[in-house]
């Protein structure tokens, strides 16, 4: 049975359950003067939810486990005895057979795959039937059981409420669980890396050239300090030198000087900038800003000014972050009570004195929190540096020299063909983990600061 018809059948059952539950509830209400906790429609929903829920849960679990079951069934077939021992070849034959069986491909590279394909198809359809049967049975059982519970004393309304709550909880858990899964895999792969390269060599080594890794001492060319420095230099120094003053000043203008009508169009426009795809900023950086920066460098006498300079990437990244800083600063400034501003104005302070001496200091914790969030964003930003920064890791504070970043290196390490468990590719995971830990810490600090600040004015 196809997945679609199964779904239609289950929904059909649920609809019947809904109608039946409603009718039954309506029947016992008729002629009664009692007040019931639940309306017929609640009973209907209760039955319907219990018809749909159990098969859904079952199918979700089934989707995770059935491929293994199918493969086991195939391996039990005599034809499978010719398979090579577990390893790369065996896996590729099996996956080819699976593609053939599912009609996703028509030619096969391995002869054996063609023999195994029908076996695969048979096993697959057998398990599909079993699954459909169980799902329908569950749907029916759930519906029937709950239908028998519909009665005057049954609080279907609270039950429905509980199911809704569970649904919402699941929805929020899925995002969390997925993230935890990603982190777990990151930890796992990084762990494999650190078995090859000692952590201190990676974290404190100052030489990075993954193109030439000696088999004897892979750590010697995998010292990530130049990457950390480049990331910090571009994301936390150059970008912030651009983003903080402009973001703060635009927020001050918007909250203190702009008339409501001006604010009404400037604020959304600024926020729209935050929605520009980073790849657009990326080619702006690579094609427009980088050559200009190089020109500038050469003209002021820096002969080795690079066309992949830290300055170009940092400048554009800063521009990208301006709306973010501006909106965080805007929130913080707006949160400063108007009484504070009035108090200063009533002392005879001018607007700009009030802003400099009262409002900005009062909003400072919020602004600092916002800047930390912006930094954490900037150092995780990938597209701009992939397009505009250099691939060569140099440890330099010259903004016109080429510099690379952690994100840029992760991309370089994982694109290009390399075996999946060489020190080179595994290094990408170690870099990813480091970046993750740093941004996580930054976010925690920033959010605590912002939260403290909000509480101060409540």
């Amino acid at each position: 049975m196809s997945g679609l018809s199964l779904v239609i059948l289950v929904i059909g059952l649920a609809l019947i359950g809904w109608l039946a539950g409603r009718m039954r509830a309506a029947a016992f209400r008729r002629g009664s003067t009692r007040r019931f906790s639940s309306q017929p429609v609640h009973h209907g929903w209760f039955v319907a939810l219990w018809t749909v829920g159990p098969p859904l849960v079952f199918l979700a679990i089934w989707a995770l486990t059935s491929p293994a079951l199918v493969t086991d069934a195939v391996l039990a077939n005599p034809a499978a005895s010719q398979l090579p021992p577990p390893g790369f070849d065996r896996a590729s034959i099996l996956s080819e057979a699976r593609s053939l069986a599912q009609g996703r491909s028509y030619g096969a590279f391995h002869e054996l795959a063609r023999t195994l394909a029908p076996v695969y198809a048979a096993a697959q359809s057998r398990f599909d039937w079993i699954a459909s049967g169980i799902a329908l049975l569950l749907a029916f059982a759930g519906g029937a059981f709950t239908f028998t519970r519909v009665g005057p004393g049954f609080a279907a309304r609270t039950q429905v409420e509980r199911v809704v709550m569970i649904l919402l909880l699941t929805a929020s858990l899925i995002a969390i669980l997925t993230t935890m899964g990603i982190v777990a895999s990151l930890l796992w792969e990084a762990g494999r890396f650190f078995r090859i390269v000692p952590a201190w060599e990676f974290l404190f080594g100052t030489h990075w050239s993954p193109q030439v890794i000696s088999a004897r001492d892979p750590g010697a060319s995998l010292g990530a300090v130049p990457l950390f420095w480049g990331t910090f230099f571009i994301g936390a120094v150059i970008a912030m030198v651009v983003a903080i003053p402009f973001g703060l000043m635009s927020a001050i203008y918007l909250t203190q000087y702009a008339r409501a009508s001006t604010r009404r169009w400037i604020k959304p426009t600024l926020e729209m900038l935050a929605g520009v795809p980073t790849v657009v900023y990326g080619y702006f950086a690579a094609l427009t800003v980088a050559p200009a920066v190089r020109q500038l460098g050469v003209s002021i006498g820096i002969a080795d000014a690079s066309s992949e300079s830290a300055l170009a990437a940092g400048l554009v990244m800063g521009i990208m972050i301006i709306p973010f800083v501006s909106s965080m600063a805007d929130d913080s400034l707006s949160a400063v009570p108007a009484a504070m501003r009035d108090g200063s104005l009533a002392m005879g302070a001018t607007s700009s004195e009030t802003i400099r001496k009262v409002l900005v200091p009062a909003a400072l914790p919020g602004v600092v929190g916002g800047v930390l969030l912006a930094v954490s964003r900037a150092i995780g930003e990938t597209m701009i540096v992939v397009m505009a920064a250099s691939g060569v890791a140099t440890l330099t504070a010259n903004p016109f020299a080429s510099t690379t970043t952690v994100t840029k290196q992760i991309v370089d390490l994982l694109t290009g063909e390399a075996e999946f468990d060489s020190a080179k590719t595994l290094a990408a995971f170690a870099l990813g983990l480091t970046l993750f830990v740093i941004t996580l810490l930054l976010n925690i600090v920033a959010l605590t600061v912002v939260k403290r600040y909000r509480e101060a004015y409540e």
């Binding site: 108090g343 104005l345 002392m347 009062a362």
Partner: protein, 253 residues
Amino acid sequence: MTTPKITARNVSVYYGATRAIDDVSIDVTQDEVVAFIGPSGCGKSTFLRTLNRMNDTVPSARVEGEIYLDGEDIYAPSMDVVQLRARVGMVFQKPNPFPKSIYENVAYGPRIHGLTHAKGELDDIVEGSLRRAGLWDEVKDRLTDSGTALSGGQQQRLCIARAIAVDPEVILMDEPCSALDPIATAKIEELIHELKGRYAIVIVTHNMQQAARVSQRTAFFHLGHLVEFGATSDIFTNPRAERTKDYITGRYG
């Protein structure tokens, strides 16, 4: 009678198209305390804020009529609002110390107006203002603590110290005790008694007894009109207008 410090002539205030104050004329002399009373929303704060042009900060507000400070039209184009507000200080309903140290709160005004040239001079002003505000003994050992860490009553006295640090001629107070307990209120009232004579004081209050205790003259506002203005003792014992009588006997408000 002495010449008035403040003279308001036929003042009307509009928020957009609605009129919040209608044709009010009043005068305040240098050595008296004037109380504004009246039901909520009658325009007391609005009128008070015209006296130091704080209504300029409300974009929709518009003021008609004339207001003179020592015979000088404060709404004249040549008037320097910054100077005006240094001469006419204000204390708000809710204590609003700046999130700075106690010392810096009081030093704020002298600093922005450049009143001092040496650090010692500033120290003297801060101490003198805190003393006159009756706060010095409570805070002299913690001048570097944040002003927001004080109790509500202390914060309000800090705001008064802040206002008198620039040595104004008039102090406007908008319900300065409404957020305070009776003891803190008594302290502020005592303080008003001490400040009287040195500054002309205008105080908005919802508390009839307070008006009777601290003021020499009282103005009763109703729906944007000045209904009655006269000696406090007359207003409370022998009001001329029916509406005043209803209000002070608690018929409404």
